[in-house]
């Protein structure tokens, strides 16, 4: 019971039996269908449409084009709004755009009586374009004379930031000593897509009183309300967002994708219900992807293995629209800085560059999987240069207990990183395997590799952290729990239930969490992202529970004629604090409180927690692989993630969370990559050609935890949502390096790339 128990998910039965309702399950049968018309060029202008044939299709209600939408620019990222103009998100898109900035840009939409009519009409729309050369990669977009995607951003540079620590001048630090070894390399990560099971889906209607209601699959209902209001120029209170169960988001649904357009189309159809179901192919091409980032790095190390200085120059491919923009590469630079101590200092220059390709946004890890690939590939390359065991090198140079970020002030309050490294070393027989896999010959070779990481918990102090919770005591002594924080498959409802049980002294079966968020009813929270909810929203919950508990005990004190401070709640009963003797059941208390003729009171509590703290979680991945040289295939023999995520609220769910993240990391490391042709058109934007690993490609996923209580957290807990996906790809890369001696410097490590590298190294 309570925190630390392996409680069964509160939504397990509904989900396993198929009774849990998702957005598509709730659609009214007579809803109209909307179909987005996407551009078939990557860069240019829409000059005009020929709608004649499309309008003839039976069942077409209305066709709306980029010439019909309000002249309002808006931004889509799921950030808390900033009241300071300088910190507000970049607002760079309209509902439909005449300026085409990527293949698959939204340029028109069809509303029809059914899907077939909508699709037929969409296919018949003729578009006249003025085409510009595509600039899908950073190099293309930064070339002199490249077309400018957004007028106000000359040179297509959305943002540039610079950060230094210590001397902050690599060349100076590296030049001060003789005998330093220098590493100078370029590493690159690729575009990948979230591939959440449930596609982006929503429906919108006006209720009888003119309120615009949108039911949608989102991680961030309250932010969706604000962005729809901004995009349509409507008062935010006129809009109501309902979020039912969702089938995954992984950050793609931490962006306001098609809700504003859906709302607009509903109004264009006179308030009738309009549904939008985005296809898998559209999701690849036209929603969000993970930023591809190219990094030029340098490191200077002493022969004894001391890291002296590092330099990072990172170029992040933003795609056509800003979305989360520069936050991702800025986050990357921070982690590059935090994970290792540079004796003399480090410097980092980060650029975010608009290109004519899929807009990059939030995706599990928010720049840190990229950062970790670069940082940890680099770490193994340094260790190799030093002829030093890469694990020992890490122990010598990695971030220390109590580390405090010199820029953000974020502090490592509960340090488990070294313990994670040692635990993995032992479980994986690291030292023996490193010896065993030395000097191999033959077609099949084995290796063992590792990567460490750190990750902050929530977004403070970069952004606002605020959360609310409401608790109501029911007539039967059970609790109604409402969180603004969202269940997106990660198990939030279950851990909140456990937290409430823990803090109220109730059993979980007496806590009824309302899973659905409805912005007309649900207290405010910014939503599921940044691995923040157990920490930030958990604090709101704990605070609210304490308030409610006080009120309950106050009423009990009145009923029992005993001082409130002598009472406590355990197992749904008011007990004597000292002896633990039962004095009053919660059911009796609640019934009396509701229906008392002398003193009727509804026992409720609601509070907001403004979180002004943060802490690091950390961990390591260890991978043992077998490489088939001629086939270019990497078989994972054993893989282990060790996490330092504080006290686990629910160890079973925590383990499942790690499994999912590791699976994502395997795809990132070995196969997934969204590719583009020379015209800027995606080549493999579908689940056949985009190679996500299947169950048959997935090895056993081993998970270990190091539980160090975090003093700043509500229950000793810290970030775990995103971290599992972070260290897997670099650990695999370093294992391949150990097996073959070949350093692969870009992701993914697909077979063709590997065979080319093995040929170059004369292994085949």
């Amino acid at each position: 019971m309570g925190v630390g128990a392996k409680t069964t998910r509160v939504d397990a039965y509904a989900k396993v039996t198929g009774q849990a309702k998702y957005t598509a399950d709730l659609m009214p049968e007579d809803a109209l269908c909307a179909k987005v018309v996407h551009s078939t060029i990557a860069n240019g202008w829409v000059k005009g449409f020929d709608l004649e044939e499309a309008q003839k299709v039976s069942g077409v209600v209305k066709i709306v084009t980029c010439f019909d939408v309000p002249d309002i620019l808006f931004g889509t990222p799921g950030h808390p709004w900033s009241v300071e103009k300088a910190h507000q998100d970049v607002q760079d898109r309209k509902l439909l755009n005449q300026r085409v900035r990527l293949y698959g840009d939204d340029i028109a939409a069809v509303i029809a009586e059914n899907e077939v009519a909508a699709a037929r009409a969409a296919r018949l729309i003729r578009v006249e374009y003025e085409e510009l050369p595509p600039i899908p990669e950073v190099e293309d977009a930064m070339k002199e004379g490249a077309s400018v995607l957004h007028e106000e951003k000359a040179g297509n540079i959305l943002a540039h930031s610079r950060m230094t620590v210590g001397e902050g001048d690599f060349e100076k630090s590296a030049g001060e000593e003789e005998d330093l070894l220098i590493l100078d390399k370029v590493y690159q990560t690729q575009r990948v897509q979230h591939c959440h099971l449930e596609l982006p889906v929503s429906f919108a209607y006006q209720d009888g009183n003119g309120k615009l209601v949108i039911v949608t699959s989102t991680q961030i209902p309250h932010i969706v309300r604000r962005v729809v209001g901004q995009a349509l120029g409507m008062d935010w209170g006129q809009i109501r967002i309902i979020k039912p169960y969702i089938g995954g988001g992984f950050g793609n649904k931490q962006d306001v994708l098609y809700e504003p357009l859906n709302a607009f189309l509903c109004l264009q159809a006179g308030g009738r219900c309009v549904k939008m179901e985005i296809s898998r192919e559209e999701t690849f091409t036209s929603t969000r992807v993970r930023h591809a980032i190219k990094c030029h790095v340098k490191a200077a190390v002493r022969k004894d293995g001391t890291l002296v200085a590092r330099k990072l120059e990172a170029y992040s491919n933003q795609g056509g629209y800003a979305s989360h923009g520069h936050s991702i590469v800025a986050n990357m630079a921070n982690m590059f800085k935090q994970l290792y101590h540079d004796e003399k200092g480090m410097e980092a220059d980060s650029y975010t560059v608009y290109t004519s390709s899929a807009s990059a946004g939030a995706m599990r890890g928010y720049g840190i999987p990229q950062a970790d690939f670069v940082t940890e590939a680099m770490t193994d390359d340094i260790a190799r240069m030093l002829h030093m065991d890469p694990l020992e090198y890490r122990l010598k140079n990695c971030m220390e207990d109590g580390y405090r970020d010199p820029h953000t002030g974020i502090t490592f309050h509960s340090y488990g990183l070294r313990q994670c490294i040692e635990k993995g070393r032992e479980k994986m027989h690291w030292d023996e395997k490193r010896r065993l896999y030395k000097d191999q010959t033959g077609m099949i070779r084995r290796g063992i590799g590792m990567a460490i990481f750190c990750y902050k918990t929530g977004v403070y102090p970069i952004s606002l952290e605020t959360a609310s919770c409401r608790m109501v005591l029911n007539q039967d002594g059970s609790i109604q729990l409402q969180m603004g924080a969202t269940e997106i498959g990660q198990g939030a409802d279950t851990v909140f239930t456990q937290m409430a049980a823990e803090s109220l002294g109730f059993t979980e079966d007496k806590i009824y969490i309302v899973s659905t968020q409805d912005t007309d009813i649900t207290p405010f929270d910014t939503g599921a992202y940044a691995s923040r909810q157990t920490y930030v929203s958990g604090m709101a919950l704990k605070q609210t529970a304490q308030m409610l508990k006080e009120r309950i005990l106050e009423y009990a004190s009145e009923m029992l004629d005993l001082a409130a401070d002598t009472l406590d709640i355990r197992n749904n009963e008011v007990v004597d604090k000292k002896s633990g003797d039962s004095l009053l059941s919660m059911k009796e208390l609640a019934t009396e409180a509701f229906y008392s003729l002398s003193h009727s009171v509804h026992l409720t509590a609601e509070s907001t927690f403004h979180c002004k703290n943060n802490t690091f979680s950390s961990g390591a991945c260890f991978a043992e692989v077998e490489v088939d040289l001629a086939y270019g295939q990497v078989k994972v023999l054993k893989i282990l993630n060790v996490h330092d995520s504080g006290i686990l609220i629910n160890p079973k769910l925590a383990e499942a969370q790690v499994h999912g993240g590791m699976s994502m990391g395997l795809g990132y490391g070995l196969g997934e990559c969204l590719m583009y042709d020379k015209n800027g058109k995606p080549l493999n934007g579908n689940l056949l050609d985009y190679k996500m690993p299947t169950a048959m490609d997935t090895p056993n996923l081993d998970v270990e935890f190091v539980e160090v209580e975090d003093p700043t957290a509500p229950y000793g807990n810290k970030a775990l949502g995103e971290p599992p996906a972070i260290p897997v790809a670099p650990a695999l890369r370093n294992a391949v390096l150990h097996a073959t001696g070949v350093a692969v410097d870009s992701l993914p490590m697909d077979p063709q790339k590997l065979t080319e590298a093995f040929k170059k190294a004369h292994l085949i």
């Binding site: 191999q440 084995r446 088939d628 050609d689 690993p693 065979t755």
Partner: protein, 310 residues
């Protein structure tokens, strides 16, 4: 919702041929695992379909009087993979069709659709090439038999005319008796995959199991259509089983195939795979034929100083 203009459910083969004759734009559908995808993608949106679904005479597997194996073209991949005659006489075909997509696709997709679709990547096609499968086409003017080597005319194209239905696939006794085979599929993942390359090998060894009596080797995705390597096969006849044989085959198939570069795989990578798969497929087939392949299968075990890790 699929954009299908009309769907005609044929009662039998004659009825299907008639329906195709009447509508020159009609599209035949059997399992639907290719056609429905093309409808969804828009390529065949608004199509009029003639369905072969549940036509009994197109299903099943049986042994004919002269020991020819007859395979109903509307047999699903999973029914073929589990059929006792196939498993007993031509297990290589079961092995090949069991690599198609995933379980759902294998339950719906049919072997006839696999070849009539005309693509080089069809997992059953290269195996049918080495088995010298004969395809029976039934049209308005009667029945004709086409060896599979003459069936494909280009990528996505076959000799089947619009109003013909594939009504049987036959494999003669002399094409399977005494032969042992292997199908190697190379994909970027282990399931839900289209072959980057497919390689089917069929061998017959001499009585002492020391030499090749007959070798047949075919590839998918090594050319615009599935392709047999007849010259290499001829050259390998009589060769002693050993590493030289594997190298000879790997070396010689390269001059018979014609892979192209695409974003899925470069020509160089495909050629590397062709050599490697030829070796591995051949050694595996030889092992199944009872030949001594000790030391030939260098890709099977990781070794370090002779110490094999279990």
């Amino acid at each position: 919702m699929y954009d299908i203009e009309t769907l005609y459910q044929a009662k039998d083969v004659g009825d299907a041929v008639e329906a195709l004759k009447k509508n020159p734009n009609a599209v035949l559908i059997s399992g639907g695992t290719d056609v429905l995808i093309q409808i969804r993608e828009g390529k065949l949106a608004g199509a009029s379909l003639v369905s072969l679904h549940n036509i009994k005479e197109l299903k099943g597997i049986r042994m004919e009087e002269d020991q020819t194996i007859w395979i109903g073209p509307a047999s699903s991949f999973s029914s073929i993979a589990n059929d006792p005659i196939i498993l007993d006489k031509i297990p290589v075909l079961a092995e090949a069709v069991d690599t198609v997509g995933g379980p759902q696709i294998r339950n719906m997709g049919t072997i006839g659709g696999n070849v009539c679709n005309g693509v080089t990547s069809a997992d059953s096609a290269s195996t049918q090439f080495v088995l010298n499968a004969r395809l029976e086409l039934t049209g308005p003017s009667g029945i004709r038999q086409v060896p599979i080597s003459e069936f494909y005319t280009g990528p996505g194209r076959t000799v089947r005319s619009h109003d013909e239905v594939l009504t049987g696939i036959r494999i003669a006794r002399e094409d399977y008796e005494g032969y042992f085979g292997c199908y190697v599929k190379y994909g970027k993942r282990k399931a839900m995959e289209i072959a980057t390359l497919g390689c089917a090998v069929l061998v017959k060894v001499t009585e002492d199991k020391k030499r090749i009596e007959d070798l047949r080797i075919a590839f998918g995705v090594a050319a615009p259509t599935p392709i047999r390597c007849y010259k290499t096969e001829e050259g390998a006849k009589g060769m002693e089983i050993g590493n030289d044989l594997l190298c000879f085959v790997a070396e010689n198939v390269q001059s018979e195939v014609n892979p192209r570069s695409s974003w899925r795989a470069s020509k160089e990578f495909r050629l590397l795979l062709i050599q490697e798969m030829a070796k591995r497929g051949l050694a595996e087939a030889l092992g199944r034929a009872g030949a001594d392949v000790t030391g030939l299968k260098y890709w099977e075990n990781w070794q370090n100083g002779g110490e094999i890790d279990a």
